[in-house]
């Protein structure tokens, strides 16, 4: 599965994207964030306050409780500041 990171999530993790193999038992976006947070200090820093992290599955905004299902691309980023 392809993961994308933007803005300070990208900066803290230190890369814009990566491919990961998810272990069994990860069914929601929130599960994925909790699992990522344990992958190292840079991930722990990025996901230290998961409530402020926004996520998109296949380029559509989703909530932490959303099931990952057959997602191809999941992105994590801070609240948007466009316009």
């Amino acid at each position: 599965m392809k993961l994308l990171y933007f803005a300070w999530v990208r900066e803290r993790i230190g890369k814009p994207q990566e491919d990961v193999e998810l272990p069994a038992g990860i069914s929601t976006v929130g599960d994925l964030m909790a699992w990522l947070a344990k992958r190292g200090d840079e991930y722990a820093h990025a996901f230290e306050n998961p409530r402020v992290i926004r996520a998109a599955i296949d380029r559509t905004h989703v909530r932490p409780e959303t099931a990952i299902g057959g997602a191809r691309e999941i992105a994590f980023f801070p609240p948007m500041t466009g316009g």
Binding site: R10, A56, R59, T60, F77, P79, M80, T81, G82, G83
Partner: protein, 162 residues
């Protein structure tokens, strides 16, 4: 309805975009153009530049979805949304929203809806350079409030339609 959505690094020419939208049309009685410009100071501190990051692919798709929503809510005859990314200096334009309609209220409402959406929901992130240091602009709760109010018909505007 002609809809133009463009993400680009280069500045845009609002007048040329308006001309392109309205050329040869005599049904567009009302055109609202919103231009968002990089300010030279934030909370009193001079800004050297903004740098906008975006999520390619998702940004275009999300904007297109909201242009369609605007089209379903108001009687629109044309919409243009141009959003820049990359480094933007003070005084330079960041975003352009054009909404054309037969009547003014639809054009105003659609342009404001799209701007509220772009501010709070479109996948763009602003980094600001102040005094040699860069920092990420924090999202404003008021922008969330602004976008939430469109979930129900806003009181006092739909019933004022021409």
């Amino acid at each position: 309805m002609p809809a133009t959505i463009r993400l680009q690094r280069e500045p845009f020419d609002a007048a040329a975009e308006t001309a392109a939208l309205t050329r040869g049309r005599t049904d567009m009685g009302a055109v609202v153009a919103f231009t968002g410009i990089c300010r030279g100071a934030e909370d009193g501190a001079p800004i050297a530049a903004l740098t906008l990051e975006h999520y390619p692919g998702m940004a275009e798709a999300e904007i297109a979805r909201h242009v369609e929503e605007a089209q379903s809510r108001w009687a629109l005859l044309g919409v243009t949304v141009i959003h820049r990314f990359g480094r933007i200096a003070p005084g330079e334009p960041i975003v352009l929203v054009l909404a054309a309609s037969s009547h003014r209220h639809d054009a105003f409402a659609a342009a404001e809806f799209l701007m509220d959406y772009l501010k709070a929901r479109a996948p763009f992130w602003k980094q600001v350079e102040v005094a040699g240091a860069t920092s990420w602009v924090e999202a404003k709760q008021s922008d969330d409030g602004a976008v939430e109010r469109w979930r129900e018909p806003a009181p006092g505007r739909r019933d004022a339609a021409e």
